[in-house]
């Protein structure tokens, strides 16, 4: 049985904001299915009472003094923008 269907792959691509062709969807379905099947070997392990590790050094909150510093100048921030206008990033229409 496959672990992931072509519809799921298309849905995931949409969530990840990727446009994929039908051909790509087929290829990714096959490859992701193989990877997920491979990953299911983790189920051999009983991890019921094992705490998850999200950070190896087990750091707690790192605090610093709240000292105001200058931000990035606007021209600098816009320097790499594909499109900008009136000192702001410009994007295509949000509403049709």
């Amino acid at each position: 049985m496959s672990r992931i269907s072509i519809e799921q792959v298309k849905h995931v691509a949409h969530l990840a904001r990727l446009a994929i062709t039908d051909e790509e969807a087929e290829m990714f379905t096959k490859q992701l299915d193989a990877i997920i099947t491979f990953a299911e070997q983790l189920n051999e392990l009983d991890t019921e009472n094992v705490p998850p590790t999200s950070h190896v050094l087990d750091m707690k909150n790192v605090m610093r003094e709240d000292v105001p510093t200058p931000g990035i100048p606007r021209e600098e921030a816009l320097k790499n923008a594909p499109d900008h206008q009136d000192g702001q990033f410009r994007v295509p229409a949000i509403l049709e």
């Binding site: 990727l18 992701l32 990953a39 299911e40």
Partner: protein, 485 residues
């Protein structure tokens, strides 16, 4: 004979005695690049004009000052996922083809303060996702030892440039083996420091809980000098550790009498080629001859590391790479009907297949209904893998094994099946999951291709790793071999 056959400390001495100038060092770099870059293709961007101007400035300083640091005037290559102010930084991705950073990574600031000279930016797998540098969106880098073979990855450009003598040293980054594996394939020295040892500020994030910047060099001593400059707490990276940075070079005593080495049976078992296994056993004999002892141990969860890694790293990547949306920087599609469409087209045209595959795997593993089964499960197994290392380090000083199961493979050999390519990282990935430091040093040749020895240490104990690596290097001459090119 190249100037870069000398160690950094020797070059420093020569600068001091005015036997050479900084301009000579930069000339050497660009001369060699002109000679071999056609074949190797390690660099994505060169910064020749600035490098020469800086060399001139430093030469003026050299004429009047007698006190300067070890990296003063040394040419260095930088992996293209480390941001360099005013110098194009692409992560080898079309989506950042024109990105001109407005600030320097912390490691770059430290290199500037040390008066090192950036020669250029080095090729890599796109966003550091890969093990052969074949996933670069721009060019194929070749292994200087055999141009039909890959240099390894993802820091393939960094390792190849050092091996080819284009720069005396380089920076790479390592998320699952991306410094150590190319160092092994190219016959150079590559260290992944302890997680938190080096600031990640300005390293374009792939998997934030695993990524580390580290040095790639010809010798262990050079490696220690470079780490010395880049290591330490950084207020700009809250995951950088508040742990004192020791004097790494003073650890290079050559004395490893009484050192206790653990050799995991999982690292010499199935999948590891007979020749690589033999090279590692021979290396252990050398270390025994120097007064160390070794015993076989077990890291029982090793076989689960690969699956754990791909779930966690891809999940983190899917979040980290959400920022590439065509709004603030980089590539934007020309044919979008509306905003959502613009995001989708931009990302689909800008990212390569491996990056898309991992973003989708990560998005899936984090999605509602699958989070517990995949992402959280992998985080729990990560704990077990980390505990394996802790247990071994209660009794032993270092863990030793091969860096890779085989020497460098052929270009195109593993590109058709992602899982085959991933399997190449089985010996390096556990180290990232546990957050411990590891180095790869040359320990032999198989059919003219270098083999890497991996030495793994306790958290923040890079000194012991360096001491062992240096002692081995002094007793052998693998590091003196150079590719014919």
């Amino acid at each position: 004979m190249s100037l870069f056959d000398h160690k950094i400390s020797e070059l420093h001495h020569m600068l001091h005695k005015k036997e050479i100038s900084v301009s000579d060092l930069v000339d050497e770099s660009f001369k060699r690049i002109a000679e071999v870059e056609d074949k190797v293709q390690a660099f994505l961007t060169l910064d020749e004009e600035n490098a020469r101007a800086k060399a001139k400035k430093l030469d003026e300083k050299l004429a009047t000052e007698n006190e300067f640091g070890l990296l003063f005037g040394m040419p260095i290559g930088i992996k293209d996922n480390i941001v360099t102010k005013g110098l194009r930084t692409t992560c080898a991705s079309k989506i950042l083809y024109n990105f001109d950073p407005i600030y320097d990574a912390t490691v770059m600031q430290r290199l500037h303060e040390a008066d090192a000279i950036t020669v250029g930016k080095l090729n890599m797998d796109e966003f550091a996702m890969g093990s052969s540098t074949e996933n670069s969106g721009f060019q194929l880098t070749r292994n200087p030892w055999d141009l039909e073979r890959v240099p390894g990855g993802s820091s393939g450009g960094s390792a190849a440039a050092v091996a080819a003598g284009e720069v005396p040293f380089a920076l790479g980054s390592d998320t699952g083996g991306s410094i150590r594996q190319p160092a092994a394939f190219c016959g150079v020295v590559g260290l992944k420091p302890t997680y938190g040892r080096v600031s990640r500020f300005g390293l374009v994030a792939f998997a934030s809980s695993l990524d580390q910047i580290g040095p790639i060099t010809r010798t262990v001593e050079d490696n220690a000098y470079l780490l010395q400059v880049i290591a330490g707490l950084d207020p700009m990276d809250s995951t950088s550790a508040n742990v004192d940075v020791p004097d790494y070079v003073s650890a290079l005593t050559g004395d490893i009498k009484g050192l206790k080495i653990a050799v995991p049976k999982e690292y010499l078992g199935e999948g590891v080629s007979e020749e690589v296994r033999q090279s590692v056993l021979d290396a252990l004999k050398v270390l025994e001859g120097l007064g160390a002892t070794w015993e076989e141990v077990s890291l029982p969860h090793s076989k689960y590391a690969l699956a754990t890694y791909y779930l966690l790293a891809s999940s983190e990547a899917s979040a980290n790479l959400a920022r590439f949306d065509g709004v603030r920087y980089g590539y934007r599609t020309d044919n979008a009907k509306n905003l959502i469409d613009m995001y989708k087209q931009t990302r689909s045209e800008g990212f390569g297949n491996e990056v898309k595959r991992r973003i989708m795997l990560g998005t899936f593993a984090l999605s509602s209904g699958y989070y517990d089964a995949y992402y959280k499960k992998a985080q729990k197994v990560r704990t077990l893998i980390k505990q394996d290392f802790e247990k071994v380090f209660e009794k032993y000083d270092v863990i030793i094994g091969p860096t890779t199961p085989t020497p460098a493979f052929k270009i195109g050999e593993k590109t058709s099946d992602p899982l085959t390519m991933y399997a190449n990282d089985i010996l390096t990935i556990p180290v990232n999951l546990a957050g411990v430091p590891g180095i790869s040093i040359p320990c032999g040749f198989v059919d003219g291709l270098p083999v890497g020895l991996q030495i793994i240490g306790k958290h923040f104990d890079e000194s012991t790793i360096y001491r062992v690596a240096h002692a081995f290097e002094q007793a052998t001459d693998y590091h003196k071999q150079k590719p014919a090119l």
